[in-house]
Every structure is written in structure tokens, then in C-alpha cells.
Amino acid sequence: MIRNYFKIAWRSLVKSKGLTLINLIGLATGFAITLLIVQYVQFERSYENTHPNADRVVRLTLNLMTGNSVTTQDSEMYPPVGPKLVSEVPEVEAYSRVYAIGEPNSPMQIKEQQFLMKDLYAVDADFFKMFNYKLIHGSEKDLFKKPNQAIITESTALKYFNRTDVVGEVIKSPRSSEDILYNVVGVTHDSPPNTHLKFDMLISYPTMLADAEMLKRHGERDENWNNNNSYMYVKLVKGADYKHFTTSLAAFNKRLIDEKKIKSEEIIGQKIKDIHLYSKKTFEPETNGDAKSIFFLLGVALLIIISAYVNYINLATSKALDRAKEVGIKKVMGSTITQLRLQFLVESLLINVLAGGLALLLVWIGKSSFLSLSGLPEDFVLFGNLTFWVLLFTFIVLGGLLSGLYPAIILSSFKPSTVLKGDFSHSIKGTFLRKGLVIFQFAITIILLIQTFTVNEQLEYMRGLDKGVNVERSIIVEAPTKNSSENYSVFKQSLLANSNINAVSLSHTVPGQPSASLSTTADIHITGVTPEQYHNFYITFIDKDYIPLLDVEMLAGTNFDEGTTPEKSQVVVNEEALKHWDIQTPEDAVNKKLTFWGNEWTIKGVVKNYHQQSPKSPFLPMIHIFNNNFRSLATVQFNGGSSGDNVAQVKENFNAVYPEAPFSYFFMDQEYNKQFEADDRFKNVFMILTAFSILVACLGLLGLASFSVEKRRKEIGIRKVIGASTTNILILLSKDFVKTVMLSVLLSVPISYLLIQNWLKNFAFKIDLHLWLFILPILLVFGLVLLSISIKTVKTAIANPIKSLRTE
């Protein structure tokens, strides 16, 4: 019996090939896209899951306040806070400072081989009580209690030693003064992709205190309440109440203010599990995800799959009604309706199983592009994931039952007499439902399209905006590992001897690098004026050639006076910084004295605001301090030539002057554009979703159109006999759909407006909303609607009417 149902179901699917194809494609794309997105969302939500204690680990961050409002949220903390908390707050049992050394990277040397180490952190011993990094080699006893210890990851070990058992090896950090030596005491597994804090190498925090030069340079003293430059993690005692911890922390803050250790600042806690999706502070160790976008994506994916089901239900119901009539005419109502219902369930299950198979194929095909597009790790396990299969199974079974049940129920809700007469297909209920579903689908599609248009335009706008700084045709060379400053003028002169090189300059950082590459200090004020508010000022070190090389406009004053004394205490500030000192015009600022870091500084000049970071962020209040040492970056600006030749040229000069140092470089414009990557990715994901949504909606419409055209075939024939032209018929058939889509427009435009407004809030510099952002997508949708229904309508409209009348 069951076999029979399957046989009939199969035949019926094969018989209406077009319809089956529409259903299959619609359902399969819906399944596939939802499966992929759910995996992505799951990954984004899995951050820190590999650390069993993650629920008890809290990162402390610093809010800079003006009165009661927060002006900046900084993710880094003063070094004494950890030890003080452990002794004063009972809920805290351990702490670890995590200090990022050598942003963006640090020179290292193994025997004669020199290289640049990225993601290098100094951490306290208790780091390993919070984060799950078991040693593959080495002993955990007294780990990181002493200076000059190092742990490297498996792949770092393999990269530089070609083996993992490297305990006892020495890694040297070359310096102009005395080199510093690290003993490798352990090798641990690589940081998982789903942690906010990833590293290649860790060194023991006591090194920061024991080494005189490090102490001087980084200032991680136990009593340093001036520089908040390390991340601070604390572990709460077992069963600690987080609310209670928050109150304890508030009391702690109060004590610090009373002790005059902090002012206009507040230390707050943040569960590490919340960092990846919810934290948007300055100086994060990596760009975090965004919970809102994640859930938005999930929502859209669900809508797409619902749309696919809706299409199926829609078409299946139409078909059900047709068959009911046929059955009714045969006057065997009683048993056959039940049979018919069962038949629908079987058919629906069958098509869902087929769609599931097709979806697997689609996922398999699209896997690698999906991974790179969404930024998931390349070795991401997709098919080996249990949720993947559970979800697919649920889609098939639940979807199959639900979508099969609906037409079955519709059938039984009609009295046999109406079924016989065949007039229920025009029942208000049916029409309303069918239209409602189409309206819903197109509303989503229009919302997505408008969103895509806006995202695109905003990104184009940011790219095209005048940065106020010229990032083109510049190659950035990272500082050599040793004897840096000494030979710099030789290096510079040798570069400038090339006629195609415009200029060479030194700086601590260049535009486009993460804000973490800038130093920050809140307490910078005009000498003699006690500030009422504290703001973070962003400090960078540059030489005299930096401002002209980057074409940054000087508004008042002059560039640095090289050679005069004290040349060290000269600064150039930007307009944004002036706002915080209540200085009205750039001219007023020139020669004013600033006090910070226990020194007095003279404002030599004021530059126009430029986008140190992408226009997503507001202008930073910047202080440029004069510095002539090749410590970080040298910018080499060309006036033409191919990038490959230029790199070769710089490399040749570099190797001649610094024969032992590794040559490391990047292009300034590329580095700058990296800032757009996350948004670009968002845009790409969006475009794909939109495309799928359009596909599913249009497939649904095509199905509906063929259904309604089929229903009206005879009517069209009559109208043509009476005198309707092809155009008359086309208009007649399209009118209904156009009206329906009009309703979608009415529904979607206000929603889109709100969504866009909300999204644009993420950007400091943004486009103005204009009408075309809405009109163009709407026109596009109408075009698509007419196109997809025309596949059916045109054929019917030009057909000879006697054919359709004959079939009566």
C-alpha cells in the first residue's frame, strides 16, 4: 500500500515537471542557505567554548567618563588592578595581565635566522588557569613565575624549528642595546579559531618587570596608574555571583577614586564569552563580530526557508484543489479524500527528501566560497557537525509534514458539494492566503534589496571620500631588527637616490593600521589649565617628512624644526584635538604648551583632520610627536612604476644597508583598504542572501503565475474571441501580481527605512538617505516580477483562443 503511494507520488512529480523543478530548486536553496548560515551563527556563538572555565573569566575594561556619561570604552587596563583586586575582592581568585608586545610585530631570532613574530603577548602565570592551553611539551610547574620564559604554539614551533619538541631552545629578541633571550619552556596547541585572544608566542609577564629596557619602554610597573596598556583578565571563585561581583567592583572603583589612583574613569567587568559578539571597545585584540548582524542573518535565512515552504504549500494546495475536483467529479468522495490527503503527505515528504539531497549538493559545491566569504576558518568542519544533520533532518521531516498537511487540511475543510462545483479556488480565504504569502515574500526581497543598495553605496562612499591623506603608491618597510637608527640616513639617502622615489619618512604607525598601533593617553592638557574632562588622545611618532609625504594639510604653524633644541618636545596636533582644549582656531593653538607624560611640549603646528582610520570611525584627536629613530616603519613613496619592481628596489636598498635583517613590507593603500574587509564581507553575504531571496520569491511567483494562468486559460480564450488584444491579456494577467507587489512595497519601505537608519549609525561618516535608494530596488523588483510571470503569461496571451476553448 505504502509502496503504491510512493509510486503515485513519484509519477505525479514526474508528470508536472515544471512545478516539481520549481519546488525542488526553491526548497533546496532554502535548505542550503539556512544550513550554511546556521553553521556560521553557531561558530560565531561558540567563542571561548574551548575554555572550560570561560564562564568564570572576566575581562576588566576601562570607561573614560565625562560626568556620568561614558566617552570612550577602552579594553585595556592599568597593570596594578589585577593584584589589587585579588587582595581586596573576595570573588576574584586569580588575575592575568596580557600585554601585547611589538604591535604589529616583534623581531625575533633563532640562531642566525631572523623573523618577525606576530601576536606576541606577555602573560601572568594564572593565564593558564583561565584559558585552556595544555602543554604538549614542557612542565607546568612554576610556569611563567620567572622572567624570560616563553611558550610557543605548535605551528610556530614547526615553522621555525621544523619540530614541536623544542623545550630548552632559546629565542632571541635582538635589540640595539643588549639582546633579550627567551627560554622556550613549553609548546602548546594553536589558539582555536573561536577565541578572541589568539597568539603565536607567549612570554612570562615577570620579564616586563625584570628587563630594564622593557620596563622603560612599556612601563608595566606594579604601581603604574597612568598607562592602561594591558588586557586584564580575572577568574572568579567557583559559584561566585556575577551581580555581587559587579557591586564589589563598584566599591573597588570608589576606593580607587578616593585613593586618587583613577579619576573620571570606571573599571567594568565583561564576561569573556560576551567579547566576540558584543564588545566594541578601543584596542580590542582582534576585530570582533557583531551580534546584531549575526541574528539578522539568521532571521533572513529563516525567512528564506519559510518562503520556500510557503511556495511549496501554495503550489501544492492549488494542485490539491485541482485533484479534488477531479476526484469529486468521479463521485467517489468519501474514501478518496482521505487517500488524497495521505497521498499529499507522501508526495510532500518525497519532494522534501529530494530537496534535502539537492541541498547537500549545493552546500558541497558552495562550501569553500562560503567559508572564505564568511571568514570562517578554512578547515571548518561542516559535514561532520551533528547539528548540520539534525537540522537537515528536521527540515525534511518537519517541513515535509507541515507542508503536506496544509493542503490536506484545506481539502477536508471544503464540503464535497463545493469541491464538486469547483468554485472554492476563488474563495476569499484561498485568495487572501495566497496573496498574503506573496506579499510577505516580496516584502522581504525588497527590504533585502534596499539594504544591499544602501550597504553598497555607503561602502563606495567611504572608499571615495577624501581621506585627507595620500595613501597611494607607498611601500611601508618594517624596522630592521638591529642597529636601527644608525644606518637609517644611509638607507634613506640610498632610496632617495632613485629618481622614481618621491620621499621617505619614518613613523610609529601609518594610516589604516588598527587603532591599537597608536598610543593613548587621557591626561593631556594645556599647561596651567586643569581639565574638566578626560578624553583619550591618540599619539603617534613621526619625522619631519611624514606630513608632507602624506599630503596632510597644515592649517597653522609649521612642521617640526629639525636640529633646534629641544626638538624632542615638539608636537603637531590636529583640529579634533583642539576641540578638547577649547581652542577656537588653529592659529590660536600654535606655540601653546601642553603637559603630559611629565613633560612640557610645544604645539608647532595644527593639521587638518585626516582619516587615520576608515571613515567608519570619527576623527581621532591626534598628537604627532617628533621622532627620528627607525623603530617601527619607514614609508617609501614612489611616483610610479609597477608595485613588484618597486618592492624589489626597496628590498635591494634595504638588504644593502641591513644585510642580516628580515625584509618585511606592505602597501599602504592595501593596508588601508583592509579596514573595509569586514564590511565588504557583510555586503557579499548580504548580496548572496538577496539573490537567493529573489530567486525563491520569483520561483514562487512563477509557480503561482502558471497556476493562475492555467485557471484562467478558458477565460482568456473567451476574451480574445470577444476582441481582447494580446496587450489587453498581458495587462489583465499582470495586474493582480503588480497590485500584490505594490502592497509589499508599502509594507517594506518603512521597515527598510528603519533598518537602514539603524545600520548607518555604525558609521561616523555616512551617506544621506535619498529616494533612489528605495526607488531603484522597487523598480528592479517590478521588473523581475513582470519577467518571471511573463514566462507564463506571454505564451498564453499569444495563443490561439480556439485551442483553449476546444479543451472544454
Binding site: 476574451r719 480574445k720 474571441v721 470577444i722 476582441g723 481582447a724 488584444s725 480556439i802 476553448l805
Partner: protein, 225 residues
């Protein structure tokens, strides 16, 4: 008004070729009422479709009001058709979703008549067909005879010169059938040319002339008046 000479029509299906009309010739004068009779499958409906400009012949000549229309394309035929020809079918062919009034109004819409005039003309013709009181009803709420009267009303609302009727009484009982035949006679007396296909000798007697067909050819012609 209508003159066909050696009219031919073939239907090709998979392997067999059917000759539906085989060098058929006859003439129908303005104001005439002609009946076409013949066994099932002899080509009567095919002929009517060609006369009604719904289909084109494969050979021969068709003069409509002295103009050769055998080579007309679809667009030209449709143009000529909607101003000059009205159709009445055996199965009424009313549009279920439209009311009586709307069904009858339809041809006027397609010939571009203004709404006010449309209403007037539809009402006039509904009066004449004695179904004015049913104008708001839908086809399924009417009896067969009433439906056919609506169909006739729709066929004549544009004042066509020619009415083609394909077994107009085929689905009706004899009294309803007679009513429809009376209507057609009236229209003919008012000047409309009528060509009617019928299987009923009784109905054929309402006409002036009976053209008898067999296998796509004319066999005899009986002039009744």
C-alpha cells in the same frame, strides 16, 4: 458579404493528416440567415472558426465584404473581428468571475467605447434579451437558456454585421432552444447576417438556406425561402 472559394484546412497530428476542409466554396449574402449541417467531424466548427477569423485557412480564398482576408495576420484578423463579428457557442463561454452586465460589457471595453455609452448599450441589449433583471447575477446562478441569452447579448452588443453561432441550442431543452432561435431570427430581421451550425433540422428551419457538408466538402444546398 462572405464568399469562400476552394477553402482548405488541414490538421496534422503525429502521423495522420486530417483534411478538415476540402476545397469548400459558397457564398452568404448580406442579411442572409444560413444554416450549416452535417455529421460530426465533417468540418463545421473548423469552417466557422475560419469564417470568424479565429483561424486561417491553408488554401483557397476568403472574401469578407469583398476584401481578401485569407492571408491576414493575427493582429489584422483580431481588428476586423472585434468590430464585425459576434460569436455564440454551444457551451455559452461566459466568464464565471464576471457578472451578466460585465460579460456583456466586455466587447465594448475592447473596442474602446466610453463607460457611459457602454452602460447605455449594455442595458439596451439586456432589455432586448429580457434578462435585464438578472444583470447583477453571475453565470452559475442562471439557467442554461438564460446563459445563452446573455451570450447572444454579448455577441450583438457591438452591433456586428455577422453572427456566427456554433450549435447555439445544443445544450438547451426545446423551449429554451426555441427562445434562442427566436432571438436570432429577430436579429436577422433587423439586418444582421447569421451563419449557424446545427444538428437540429428543427432549428435549421429558422434559416433561409441550409448548406449540407460531408468530409469537408459541400454536398447540397436547400434554399428554404
Amino acid at each position: 458579404m462572405i464568399k469562400i472559394t476552394n477553402l482548405e484546412k488541414y490538421y496534422k497530428t503525429e502521423e495522420v493528416q486530417t483534411i478538415a476542409l476540402n476545397k469548400l466554396s459558397f457564398e452568404v449574402k448580406q442579411g442572409e440567415f444560413a444554416a450549416i449541417m452535417g455529421p460530426s467531424g465533417c468540418g463545421k466548427s473548423t469552417l466557422l472558426n475560419i469564417l470568424g477569423l479565429l483561424d486561417d485557412p491553408d488554401g483557397g480564398s476568403y472574401l469578407f465584404n469583398g476584401i481578401e482576408v485569407a492571408g491576414y495576420n493575427e493582429r489584422k484578423r483580431a481588428q476586423l473581428r472585434k468590430h464585425n463579428i459576434g460569436f455564440v457557442f454551444q457551451s455559452f463561454n461566459l466568464i464565471d468571475e464576471l457578472s451578466v452586465f460585465e460579460n456583456v460589457e466586455l466587447p465594448l471595453i475592447y473596442t474602446g467605447v466610453k463607460p457611459a455609452e457602454r452602460k447605455e448599450r449594455v442595458h439596451a441589449v439586456l432589455e432586448k434579451m429580457q434578462i435585464m433583471h438578472r444583470r447583477k447575477h453571475f453565470p452559475q446562478q442562471l439557467s442554461g437558456g438564460q446563459q445563452q441569452r446573455v451570450a447572444v447579448a454579448r455577441a450583438v452588443v457591438n452591433n456586428p454585421k455577422l453572427i456566427l453561432a456554433d450549435e447555439p441550442t445544443g445544450n438547451l431543452d426545446s423551449s429554451n432552444g426555441n427562445e434562442v432561435m427566436d432571438l436570432l431570427t429577430e436579429l436577422n430581421e433587423a439586418g444582421t447576417t447569421i451563419i449557424m451550425v446545427t444538428h437540429s433540422e428543427h432549428d435549421a428551419k429558422f434559416s433561409h438556406r441550409i448548406i449540407r457538408m460531408l468530409d469537408g466538402q459541400k454536398v447540397t444546398e436547400n434554399v428554404l425561402v
